[in-house]
């Protein structure tokens, strides 16, 4: 299937989104726009220091300020013993420090809350916050992961006795899913016809930077406590609020209203959410908190931040024989909801699309005095994909091979599916040849290689690089049994309900809670096809535990591949009930009833009933079979049997000005195989946005800490989110090898662009300047870094940049976000 043919079904139709009508007119309901009458506002007083003992908190001036209802520490609220949950103990002996709602005796990262002020207005709360005097005794910050693991290192949590959170190992030799990497390396080292390539890559720390700052409102008036939160996970938040604070689950209603982006950054159980609940219970008034952008960048969880030591072994003919992966992953000061598991999600993706016979993965998670890390778009899989796609290019360079050819030599061919990989996952479908062929054609790969050779030959100051990434990912999180085997603290199912209203309209309830993905449109298309009702007649309800009581929410490209299938399963039950009722009303045998496009007909006759008529008949309930309830409504819970495995070939043409180091992304082509496409318009949007985030990692973004552990680029002035002027238009296309693990054949698309694009860009930068002797450029590959790398490769010393100046704003490329104050070498 391609997306160019005009489909006769809703599936595959480029429907414009139904949710847009509100969003383009300002008729929106983001959490900060909700202020019940009498709402009190909470402000968090945060530590400016990364690591410090708290000697005392003087609240008196703040308490006397106008409009202030109260100033509270954790002890004042009686929550000093409360710890926030981590749902993923990756090993039985994982070290898990208690993450408090507010720091009590010691602060562990800059931005951690120490006290809260509650006042009549947000402005009064903030004003009074400035009057809270906290006496700190500074402690040594812990910033470098390797130093943190060394003997005698300052400990983030002394009671744990170590800065190591856990070490998680997968060895295909031990697991019986493949060979031994140690043997593969020894064999390669002893064999003149083999090579061993070792590289260290760095995954810099990123900030998800969703556009809507986090916010929550807790209203304790009424029988249930109502929590509105800018969250990706209203259902999990409800359960975890019970686990954390002991409020009975049935006394909690959690609503994720309009949510302005998440990208994994809104998967969390926040101290601020729990504080609002505790304060609302105490004060018997609605309590609201909305963070500023600077607070968000400082205190909302970050992503990535790994050091990757990768060893690949291969025969000189290009056949890969083993891959050894050693990771250090920075957890920050505490464990987030799924933080320790994020690098582990990558464990199964290092072998990517390749037939690697032996793989060992060792990951050590480390505590530092920085903001905690947790899921960010791709969560573990971008890091893995970066490492394997970068090392494949390094291997190609070592062997003098075309990197695309080398990949093809090692990848799983389309005839080999289903294919069980070296880590034991079964890839159900895919066609890497097809995606690559189309991408090469759109990109004009051969012509660009010729241009590259010409530019090299004539020593052009602008050199051309071709960046390649042939990625796959595991989506549709997740089969519950697999999650159980990984000690994850929940299942991976999703729930759906369908209500057939008396008037023939359809209400669909999903447990997948959207924050920009277009669930309402895509799910309506699915239901329209399944039930044969008009697209416009379908209403999707979500994000409120009162109307949608059961769900596991949105992350890991799961909404369609798991949530969408739950809807299909519910629709099948509706059809089965309607068929029974139709047979009764039409005085026919159920076996003789055919269902097509909303019509139930008696085979071989013109007698029939529309599904809307049957919904009305069920509502009236004047005449229905003895052995059925008068209802067509149905519920379903779907637990996937396998992950899905989207893949694609991404190609980037990168120009590097060798005199200035400026990187120009000239052209970006990608062909993604995401299985069956429900809505090509939405798919294209997801790919574009994903690409932008992945490219931003390669070129622009990094959260930088100074030597005292202070985040130095914690505003949108300094954290360089790309603008429209910093990105080109992308040339995207999809091909489809339907997934065989679910009835729609869908795979998931939310994370694909982000996972694939980062290595494509960095490979392209290096491909442009490798012949000048450059071996690596760390991300983000800013002009300054590229220029320095070229100078150093040519044996020239680079002049030190004065520490107190930086280049004035001439576009993102001119400021090194890794070191906005300049680099001293």
């Amino acid at each position: 299937m391609t997306t160019t043919a005009e489909p006769t079904t809703e599936l595959g139709k480029a429907r414009t989104r139904k949710e847009d009508a509100r969003l383009i007119t300002g008729r929106t309901r983001y959490t900060d726009s909700i202020t019940p009458h009498g709402t009190l506002h909470m402000h968090v007083v945060r530590s400016p220091l990364a690591h410090a003992r708290i000697n005392g908190v003087d609240k008196s001036a703040a308490e006397a300020a106008p409009g202030v209802v109260g100033v509270y520490t954790a002890a004042d609220l009686g929550v000093d013993a409360v710890g926030l949950p981590c749902a993923w103990p990756i090993t039985p002996d994982m070290k898990s420090p208690q993450r408090p709602l507010l720091a009590t005796s010691t602060v562990h990262f800059a931005g951690e809350g120490v006290a809260v002020v509650v006042a009549r207005t947000a402005a009064e709360a903030r004003d009074a916050g400035d009057l809270v005097e906290i006496d700190y005794d500074p402690l040594e910050p812990v910033l470098d992961m390797e130093a943190a693991l060394a003997d005698g290192a300052t400990l983030v949590h002394p009671d744990l006795g170590t800065n190591e959170n856990a070490t998680w190992v997968f060895d295909s030799g031990a697991a019986g899913t493949g060979g031994s990497v140690d043997e593969a390396i020894s064999a390669a080292e002893a064999d003149p016809d083999s090579v061993v390539v070792r590289r260290r890559f760095r995954q810099q720390r990123l900030i998800p930077a969703f556009m809507e700052p986090r916010s929550c409102v807790v209203d304790p008036t009424g029988e249930q406590i109502t929590v509105w939160s800018a969250t990706q996970i209203p259902h999990i938040l409800r359960t975890m609020t019970t686990v954390t604070l002991g409020v009975p689950e049935a006394k909690l209603r959690v609503i994720a209203p309009d949510v302005g982006g998440g990208f994994g950054g809104k998967i969390g159980v926040l101290p601020e959410e729990m504080l609002c609940v505790a304060l609302a219970q105490r004060l018997h008034k609605p309590v609201k908190w909305t963070e500023t952008r600077s607070e968000s960048l400082l205190a909302a969880h970050h992503g990535r931040d790994q050091i990757q030591d990768i060893t690949i072994t291969a025969k000189r003919d290009g056949t890969v024989t083993g891959l050894d992966v050693h990771l250090l992953a920075d957890m920050g000061a505490y464990l987030g909801l799924v933080g320790p598991g994020v690098p582990i999600l990558g464990a199964f993706m290092f072998n990517a699309i390749y037939k690697i016979p032996a793989l060992k993965f060792t990951c050590t998670n480390v505590f530092t005095t920085k903001t905690l890390t947790d899921a960010y778009r791709g969560a573990g899989r971008p890091e893995a994909t970066f490492a394997i796609e970068r090392i494949m290019d390094e291997l190609a360079a070592e062997l003098g091979r075309d990197p695309l050819e080398l990949r093809e030599q090692n990848w799983i061919t389309h005839e080999e599916f289903p294919f069980t990989t070296v880590v034991g996952l079964t890839y159900d479908s895919g066609n890497y040849e097809q995606a690559t062929q189309q991408a090469k054609q759109k990109f004009d790969y051969d012509a660009l290689r010729r241009e590259q050779a010409e530019r090299r030959a004539r020593g052009d100051k602008v050199q051309l690089g071709i960046g390649i990434s042939t990625f796959t990912e595991m989506c549709g999180l997740a089969p519950s049994r697999v999650l159980g085997s990984l000690a994850y603290g929940a299942g991976g199912w999703e729930a759906a309900s369908i209500r057939m209203l008396a008037t023939g309209k359809v209400e669909v309830i999903t447990g997948a809670s959207p924050h920009g993905q277009g669930h309402e449109t895509a799910f309506s298309q699915i239901v329209a096809d399944q039930l044969g009702v008009p697209f416009e007649d379908v209403e999707i309800l979500h994000g409120d535990t009162q109307s949608s009581p059961k769900g596991l929410d949105t992350y890991g490209s799961r909404s369609l591949a798991v949530g969408g299938i739950a809807i299909v399963k519910a629709a099948e039950k509706v059809v089965a009930k309607a068929k029974k009722l139709a047979a009764h009303l039409l005085e026919a045998s159920e076996d003789d009833i055919e269902f097509n496009a909303g019509q139930f007909t008696v085979r071989g006759t013109d007698k029939g009933k529309a599904i809307q008529e049957l919904a009305f008949a069920a509502f009236m309930a004047h005449d229905y079979p003895e052995d059925m309830e008068p209802s067509l409504d149905a519920d379903a819970v779907y637990d996937p049997e396998n992950f899905s495995f989207p893949h694609g070939t991404h190609l980037a043409a990168i120009e590097v000005d060798t005199e200035t180091g400026k990187v120009n992304l000239r052209n970006y082509v990608c062909v993604d195989d995401i299985g069956t496409v429900v809505n090509p318009l939405i798919v294209e949007g997801q790919v574009h946005g994903g690409l932008a985030q992945g490219i931003a990692q390669a070129l622009y973004e990094e959260a930088n800490y100074d030597d005292q552990g202070t985040l130095v680029n914690g505003t949108f002035v300094d954290y360089t989110l790309p603008s429209a002027a910093d990105l080109p238009s992308f040339d995207t296309a999809v091909v489809s090898t339907p997934a065989t693990s679910n009835p729609l054949g869908v795979k998931g698309v939310g994370e694909a662009g982000t996972i694939a694009s980062t290595p494509a860009i960095v490979n392209g930068v290096l491909d442009a300047i490798r012949h000048l002797g450059v071996a690596d450029v760390e991300m983000p590959t800013t002009s300054q870094r590229v220029w320095r790398a070229i100078q150093e490769a040519q044996g020239r010393s680079t002049q030190e940049t004065p520490v107190d100046t930086h280049s004035p704003g001439a576009g993102l490329g001119s400021i090194d976000p890794n070191n906005p104050q300049g680099e001293v070498q």
């Binding site: 847009d20 556009m211 302005g260 949007g685 946005g689 994903g690 002027a725 238009s729």
Partner: protein, 171 residues
């Protein structure tokens, strides 16, 4: 307290406000115009963009009192008599939004851009909306939306010129 008299989306208001109150706070907290959103605290993101006296401004970088005597148009007043502005239509048709949080500001900035340059090329659009950040779309469909709107707003196109005029003042 300082007094501010201002017309917002065609309605006249007179209020006493704190001198430090930002226009965006005034719109959201005093007038309930929550269609205009706040995305940052350093005037970088542009989510709060509205029109003041016919020109786009980031309403977080204007004090409410600076709008005294002025006319403000927000996203809530952009559609006329139930008819969407061409830029609003184009954002829907071209999938120029996902989570929608940057959208009110992006649309108001785009309307002003098209007032200055009725037929921008891709680069002119990209540079013209540089002050408005989006984290979802990668901007490609936003650029397409603005260019589509430019086509719709050309004289002789199906969209009536008066409803396309980028002027402040509401109905």
């Amino acid at each position: 307290m300082a007094q501010v008299r201002v017309t917002v989306d065609g309605v006249n208001y007179a209020d006493d406000v704190e001198p430090r109150m930002l226009l965006v706070q005034y719109l959201r907290e005093k007038l309930g115009k929550t269609g205009t959103l706040i995305g940052c605290d350093t005037s970088n993101c542009g989510a709060c963009t509205v029109h003041l006296n016919g020109r786009s401004v980031k309403s977080c970088s204007v004090l409410a009192v600076q709008a005294d005597g002025g006319e403000v148009l927000t996203i809530e007043g952009l559609a006329r008599d139930g008819e969407l502005h061409p830029v609003q239509k184009a954002f829907n048709e071209c999938h120029g939004l996902q989570c929608g949080y940057c959208t009110p500001g992006m649309i108001m900035a785009a309307v002003d851009l098209l007032g200055d340059n009725p037929d921008p090329d891709e680069n002119e659009v990209r540079e013209g909306i540089e002050g408005n950040l989006c984290r979802c779309t990668g901007y490609q469909n936003i650029v397409r939306s603005v260019q589509r709107a430019a086509q719709m707003m050309k004289p002789g196109s199906a969209v009536p010129a008066e409803s396309a005029a980028p002027v402040a003042g509401g109905n």
